[in-house]
Amino acid sequence: MRITLNGEDRDVAATTLEQALSELGYTESFVATAVNGCFIPKTQRRDQRLGEGDRIEVVAPMQGG
């Protein structure tokens, strides 16, 4: 399935957000997630099913003013 991860097209076998994060190398990561512009809490990643073309955003703390 083709999804977009942080603006880049990626092919994944995963069908849930949790699986996709693992497949894409985010195991044990300190990140927050959104799918198609909606925040997905950590506790809901397991139930968040992915569809073709979904836009996944994975963010982490960064310098800010």
Binding site: N6, G37, A60, P61, G64
Partner: protein
């Protein structure tokens, strides 16, 4: 300074962006004496994990974290960012930025009020980056904000306080609302000036991080904020259009 039931010992808030190195950032935070640093959320690469490294540095500083929604151009983006920040940082504090103009980074005050209302209703403690507009300020307070962060000048410009009468009017209109000048301060005298006007605090980033010696500059801002606050409490004299001799004229010898 009391903000949202939290007592802060320093009236200086410090941004963490644009420092030459993490070591310099650490030194500057210590020299500033701040209790609060601002942070943001950005895309994380699974291979680099730079965010994780950055946050471990912040954690080691033992200061409170104020996440921002910098770069958001709509209420929806800002609200989603706030949700992500609450989960990651474990805080309900959010420095709410909804940017309306790419050149001046002026806040979109309509989106700001909309997002502030949503977030305050959800239990967030919102620090809105706003203008000195009193009508907008009223609406932000009505939306549930208990702190206001008026700009001094455009973000990163270092111009100082572009509208002193506007800030003074804000202080007079909202005597019990903490006002923290956010953005535009370039040198410690700007910060001192803001504090002399009765502002409750200032948020500095670029003026420290882009200084030749950020740590020394952070120390200078620390002094300036304290000096300005002390001066405000000491009730500055009223300016006059004419000269008023400070030495008594009575008893002046006639020497002509």
């Amino acid at each position: 300074m009391l903000v949202y039931d939290t007592q802060l010992t320093s009236r200086l808030l410090l941004g963490t962006s644009r420092y030459p190195s993490p070591a310099v950032l650490t030194e500057a935070v210590k020299a500033s004496g701040t209790d609060v640093v601002t942070v943001s959320l950005r895309r994380e690469s699974s291979s680099e994990r730079s965010g994780q490294g950055f946050f471990s540095i912040i954690r080691s500083l033992g200061v409170r974290v104020l996440p921002n929604t910098a770069g958001c151009h709509s209420a929806k983006e800002a609200v989603t960012t706030a949700h992500m920040a609450r989960e990651l940082f474990g805080t309900t504090w959010i420095k709410l930025e909804v940017i309306g103009d790419r050149a001046t980074l002026q806040p979109d005050v309509f989106g700001l009020v909309e997002a502030a209302r949503i977030l305050a209703n959800e239990g967030f403690q919102v620090f809105p980056y706003t203008t000195e507009d009193l009508v907008v300020a009223d609406k932000l307070l009505d939306a549930g904000c208990r702190v206001l962060m008026p700009w001094g000048a455009p973000i990163g410009s270092g111009q100082g306080l572009n509208n002193v009468p506007g800030l003074r009017a804000m202080r007079a209109r909202f005597p019990s609302v903490p006002l923290i000048v956010d953005a535009g301060i370039g040198v410690p005298s700007h910060a001192a000036r803001a504090m002399e006007l009765g502002m409750d605090g200032v948020l500095i980033n670029t003026a420290v991080s882009r200084a030749g010696d950020p740590s020394a500059m952070a120390g200078a801002f620390n002094y300036a904020v304290k000096a300005g606050r002390t001066a405000y409490l000491a009730e500055p004299m009223m300016p006059s259009d004419v000269a008023i001799p400070s030495t008594p004229e009575a008893g002046l010898a006639f020497l002509a």
